[in-house]
Every structure is written in structure tokens, then in C-alpha cells.
Amino acid sequence: MPPLLVLIVAVLATTYAGPIVRFATAPAVAIAFWRLTLVLPVTGGLAVLEGSREPGAGSRTSHLTLLPAPRSL
């Protein structure tokens, strides 16, 4: 997906945070805590998939691919 489109969708997705939070009676810290905690199973699962799709994932050479190229040293 083009990054600009992702950015637009992301901003649109945040717009209803203010209005919807007015319907909650929970303390602010609890709202912030649960909005972060509830996404962790999703992001965590996708992070595992992301890791397994990286070139050389699971092999001994995977660490070598993370080394900087000589030109960047």
C-alpha cells in the first residue's frame, strides 16, 4: 500500500478517539493501558510472521545479513 495512503488512513483512524473516549467512565490511565494492551496479540502475531519472512530467518546466517555493509562503516 502506498505510504501516503497509509498515512491518510492512519490519521482518519485516530479521528474518532476523542469523540468515543467521552463514552467511557474508566480512568484515563486505564483507557491508555487497554488501548495498548489489546493490540499486542495482533501486532505480536504479525511480528512473528514478519520475522519468519525475513531472508535467512531461522538459519545461522541470519545474523550475518544484519551486519552493516562495508561501505557504511
Binding site: A10, T15, A26, I31, W34, G44, A47
Partner: protein, 232 residues
Amino acid sequence: MTLSGLLLALHFWSWIASLRFTTVASSVVLVSLKPVFAWGIAALWLREHPGRAERWGIALAVLGASLIGLGDARLSLGALSGDALALCGAVTGAGYYVIGRRVRQTVGIWRYATVVYAVAAAALALFALARTTPLVGFVRRDWAVFGAMAAGPMLVGHTGMNYALRHFRATTVNVAALGEPVGASVIAWLVPAIHEVPPLSAVVGGILVLLGIGLSVSPNGGARKPAARPCP
């Protein structure tokens, strides 16, 4: 990434807490300065400077967001401490995005989001524990709000902006984030249960914010700029 998570936790807490001590206007205006702080931090740390078009975009968007906030002005006590909290929210939010700009050059979006959100959640849990604030035992409507906040503003919103940090400068993403109060005002106007008619200043402010965002994300602004100092 740990520092980014801590800054995110501090950003969430300080901004929400600021609303209890200062006016909504002051809080919104001060938090709207995020792109300015991001500009300063990114210039010092990443040597990234916004172009001419983006500088105009930042000025217009910050002015517009300030107008939206001023339209909601009301008196409150303890304003000074509230202003300090709001300022803290702006600085920590800017720092969170600048770190994301740097780290996201080498770390995948899902790994980055998971670590940062987990650190932020753990920090907030410790804070709640210290202040004996309950984290469970809420009514069904609260849980519905938690779920909605997690699915939209967090999973799509924050994660989408973190994704964009690989392609856009932190200042650009921060300017784009100023679109939030514009959309929130429209939703608050359209939803019958809220139905807040925005004042003229908010309408003018919204137009300025959208113009500023347009300038910032244009090809002459901050679009498609690789990091000035890529990670090794």
C-alpha cells in the same frame, strides 16, 4: 525502542492528565506544537530539516490546530501545571516519532509496534499500580470503548503512522497527525449523541490544518524522503 515506548506512555498520560488542570484550548495548542518540537529534535539528532514548503505547512497546521483549540476555550484552575503537562505531552510525542523515524529504517513495523506498545503498556500498568488506579472491573460500555480505541486509533492509527515514518520525516507525520482534531470535530458534529456544532474559528482552523497537511505531504514537502542519517 524502550525509550520510544516510555515516551509514548508519558505522552498518553501527560496529555490526558493536562486536560484536568488546564483549559482544553491551552492543552490542544501546546500539544499541537509537536511538529515544531519534532523539527528541533530531528534537526539535532538526525540532521533532518523540513523544506520550504513543509515549513509553511507546519506553520499553517499549527496555527489551524491552535484556532480549533481556542474555539473550545474555557476557564480552569491550576492552569500552569496543566500547561506544563501539555507541553510535556508535546515533547514526548515528538520524541516518540523522531525515535520511530530513526529505528524504523532497520526494524520492521510489526516488531517495532509490538515492542513499543508493550513497553508503554507496562509503564502505564506500573503507574496505575503506584496510584492504585483500577485496571479491571469496568462496565461493558468501557470495554467496548477500549476495543474501539485499540482497533482504530491504535492498531490502524498509530501503527500506520509508525509505518509511514520509514517514508516520511517525523515532522511530516506530526503535521499529518494534526488532522485528528479536524476529523474529531466533524465526527462530534455528525454523531447525534454528541452533536457539537463547531464554531467559525474551528472551521477556519480546520481549513488551515488541511492546507498545512497538503503542503507538508506534497512532493515538495516531506513526501518520500529517506532518513538523512540511516542506521548502520
